[in-house]
């Protein structure tokens, strides 16, 4: 018995090259962000000198000042925050609501409608940007933030994900008990179901937030005036003035990335857990 266990342990140990491989992968993932920070804090002469500078310089405030002078960057960060928060929170609530209906309520056409929701995931909507733009100009929404927020609220995957969680965590007995206590359907959702699945809804909202914050093509098409830009479009505008300073676009990128990296340090653990408990098991 003892020999089997020790042999088993020896065979199953983590080999040194596993850590080497993961170490290299970690460096590859983090180095571009570190490099962004280096260039964002040095002047052009230092950033282009070889061998490269490995420590941050003292030029950050100067470059950040240039960024703010070139485009309304603070405004663009606030726009990104508003759009991403509205989409993240909106998706969390709306998908939980629809997921609750599909998981726990009985109504004619339930299964067919759920199939429709799943099938919509296969429609590549990014290819229809021209008609989407035509609709926005009919609505008078071109160059507004709601042109980004409202289409972002529909998430078929979110409904699928919330339905899974609600089916798994909320028993029919609990539903019935609440009903007998006289709770309306809305009260059952808002007072009982939603608090139970709030962690899953939060993770869904986080992914919605990150995707909305980083979205490029649609904001690039629909936003026209600099004071409406999201941070990503402001980066593009900074790149247009590339010859002013090499570090300018890099500083903008750095300033637009820091909020998300901070968010990730705080709640990235839950995003990882969200993917690991995702719908792809088995």
């Amino acid at each position: 018995m003892t020999t089997t266990t020790s042999r088993h342990r020896r065979l199953d140990r983590v080999r040194w090259w596993t850590y080497l491989l993961l170490g290299v992968a970690t460096v590859v993932c983090l180095f571009p962000l570190y490099w962004m920070f280096i260039v964002a804090t040095t002047d052009t002469a230092t950033a282009t000198r070889m061998p490269p500078e490995v420590l941050p310089g003292g030029n950050f405030l100067h470059l950040a000042g240039l960024v703010v002078d070139t485009v309304p960057f603070v405004q663009s960060l606030l726009n990104s925050l508003a759009v991403a928060t509205a989409i993240g929170a909106g998706q969390a609530v709306l998908c939980a609501l629809a997921g609750f209906a599909f998981a726990k309520l009985r109504f004619p056409g339930r299964n067919a409608l759920f199939l429709v929701v799943v099938l919509t995931m296969t429609v590549p909507t990014q290819l229809s940007v021209i008609p989407q733009y035509l609709i926005m100009s009919e609505l008078g929404w071109v160059d507004t933030l709601q042109a980004l927020i409202v289409p972002g609220l529909a998430s078929a995957f979110g409904i699928f994900w919330m339905r899974q969680h609600i089916s798994a965590t909320i028993s029919d007995e609990l539903m019935q008990a609440a009903r007998i206590d006289g709770a309306s359907t809305w009260q059952v959702f808002w007072r009982i179901a939603f608090p139970i699945v709030r962690p899953a809804a939060f993770v869904l909202g986080l992914f919605g937030f990150v995707t909305a914050w980083n979205d490029f093509l649609w904001p690039f098409i629909v936003l026209k005036s600099p004071e409406r830009y999201t941070a990503q479009i402001a980066i593009k505008a900074l790149q247009n003035s590339y010859d002013v300073d090499l570090g300018l676009a890099m500083s903008g990128s750095f300033l637009a990335t820091v909020p998300l990296v901070l968010l990730f340090v705080l709640v990235g653990r839950r995003m990882v857990a969200g993917i690991l408990e995702g719908a792809f098991k088995g």
Partner: protein, 315 residues
């Protein structure tokens, strides 16, 4: 609990009339709860998707006339070398980014699944950092790293005697640069999807194999890879759909001629070509025809992938 039970028994049997009203109310609220999705998706997803096929039949100028021209946009497209160039670039960039990304993710997921791995959470979080970094920021930093004159990569290549490579200006170089950015951004996310699937396998399967003398490679090849087949098919299809819609990276790397991704369109993808025609030239009809072509490609390649993957599964 006792209170709930006693109240439950007091309420039973429920009056038939009350139950009926509740049933109607429940149905109405169910439709109200799912309505926002269908309204938003219908107006901003499905309708524009269908409308693309309609606009593609017109000479459609957003500030001028809309003239019905039948399939002329498609005839023109099939004879347009710029379209075929963009199609070739798109497929090339897609292949260069998807294959390494999925292979890398397979290997990393397998090693991350080790029961006794230390700092597992740190490694798992690290590989997801590129996913939260925006495509725009990624493009800015990678273009600098790959710069001909001041880039870190060319400096390193110079140390081993390689002449500076002008990545952005050459066809292969620009494809490689874009593929590197796509791979960097997505391999960690794919790794975690694979890891999720591996974790549903009982740990004892790997332990039994190890006791029976299966080495790390054999455990990877004969346990991890076969169990991952469904999720591999899924990621191949999603990365194909994503890969065919690459837009931001090519727009941002060639600063001199962004809409064509360089003077000779060396890295213009189909989505960028669609944007150039639609919003650069204001040819909404022709741009929509490109959108239709892209849709056909997405469906065809996804179906082909699916067939190939199930063929592999059958073997």
């Amino acid at each position: 609990m006792t209170a709930t039970l006693s109240r439950a028994s007091r309420a039973a049997p429920p009056q038939p009339g009350a139950r009926k009203i509740k049933g109607v109310g429940e149905r109405l609220s169910a439709y109200a709860y799912i309505a926002p999705f269908f309204v938003v998706f219908g107006v901003f997803g499905l309708f524009p998707f269908a409308f693309t096929f309609y606009v593609a039949l017109f000479d459609w100028n957003p500030i001028g006339d809309q003239v019905f021209i039948g399939f002329d946009n498609f005839t023109r497209m099939f004879g347009d070398p710029r379209f075929w160039n963009a199609a070739g670039n798109t497929v090339s960039i897609w292949a260069l980014s998807t294959v390494p990304q999925l292979l890398l993710a397979l290997v990393l997921a397998h090693v991350l699944n080790h029961a006794r791995l230390r700092f597992a959470l740190f490694f798992r979080m690290s590989v997801l950092v590129p996913y939260v970094t925006s495509v725009a920021a990624t493009a800015i930093v990678f273009v600098q790293l790959f710069d001909r004159d001041y880039g870190l990569l060319n400096w390193l290549l110079g140390l081993v005697g390689v002449e500076p490579v002008d990545f952005v200006q050459s066809t292969w170089g620009s494809h490689l640069l874009i593929a590197t950015m796509v791979t960097w951004r997505w391999f960690g996310y794919t790794t975690l999807l694979y890891l999720a699937s591996l974790q549903s396998l009982p740990r004892s399967v790997f332990e039994a194999a190890a006791i029976d003398g299966a080495g790390p490679w054999q455990r990877f090849r004969h346990i991890s890879v076969p169990s991952l087949r469904p999720v591999i098919i899924f990621t191949v299809v999603t990365s194909t759909i994503g890969g065919l819609q690459i837009f931001t990276e090519p727009l941002l790397i060639a600063t001199g001629a962004p809409l064509t991704c360089g003077a000779v369109r060396q890295c213009q993808t189909l989505t960028l070509f669609l944007y150039e025609q639609g919003f650069g030239q204001f040819e909404f009809g022709y741009g929509s025809a490109v959108g239709v072509a892209l849709f056909v490609m997405v469906v065809a390649i996804a179906a082909l992938n699916y067939l190939l993957s199930t063929r592999i599964k059958a073997d």
